[in-house]
């Protein structure tokens, strides 16, 4: 999965979850976790995004 694709899928999953459960953050997070358990692509997208965000954070520290 490319980095662009990971962020695109991740953002889309959030928008979809928001339409289902609204904007309350805890509910949204639960819904996203549920979605990730059911859809490997969504799980992979957030996993890739997580590593990239960490890399980006660590690069800016050096």
């Amino acid at each position: 999965m490319s980095h662009d694709e990971a962020f695109r899928i991740g953002r889309k999953a959030i928008q979809d979850a928001r339409e289902r459960v609204g904007g309350q953050k805890n509910e949204l997070l639960k819904e996203l976790e549920k979605q990730a358990e059911q859809d490997r692509k969504v799980a992979e997208a957030f996993k890739v995004a997580g590593i990239l965000l960490l890399e980006s954070h660590q690069e800016t520290k050096h």
Partner: protein, 137 residues
């Protein structure tokens, strides 16, 4: 988030693929274990997640020195990465586990605590971004 994370030459996943060919038998347990969601949610930092992964290592007898050797990092650096306190006694920030070592680190410890934490952080970060963007439209 200031730099572009798209400019990587080698992903951690590719690096891990070559690494595991050289890992001694007994240290790679598959599949990697997922830890309870509550434990991940209780991590306040990346360092907490790294320490949680270490505390839940599959091979209980593994020492920090062994892990350092397998990851090819200096034992003193490994010790800093696994220290729960983010700064030393002089107030200097301790080194964090580099992102490029996460996949190997998890394979050696036999659990996915760090990935679980990073996944959760990605969800929260992108959530904030999406919500903020829609609120400012």
């Amino acid at each position: 988030m200031g730099t572009n994370p798209m400019q990587m030459e080698q992903t951690p996943y590719k690096a891990a693929a070559s690494f595991t060919e050289h890992v001694p038998a007994g240290y790679v347990s598959a599949p990697l274990r997922f830890l309870h969601r509550e434990k991940i949610a209780a991590c306040a930092s990346f360092r907490d997640a790294v320490c949680l992964a270490w505390d839940n290592r599959a091979v209980r007898g593994m020492t920090q020195r062994t892990l350092a050797e397998l990851l090819d990092v200096k034992p003193s650096h490994m010790s800093n990465m696994l220290n729960r306190v983010a700064v030393d006694r002089h107030g200097k920030p301790r080194q964090d586990l580099p992102a490029r070592l996460v996949a190997d680190f998890e394979r050696l410890l036999g659990n996915r605590a760090v990935t679980q934490y990073l996944t959760r952080m990605a969800m929260l970060t992108l959530m904030e971004e999406v919500i903020h963007r829609q609120e400012t439209l």
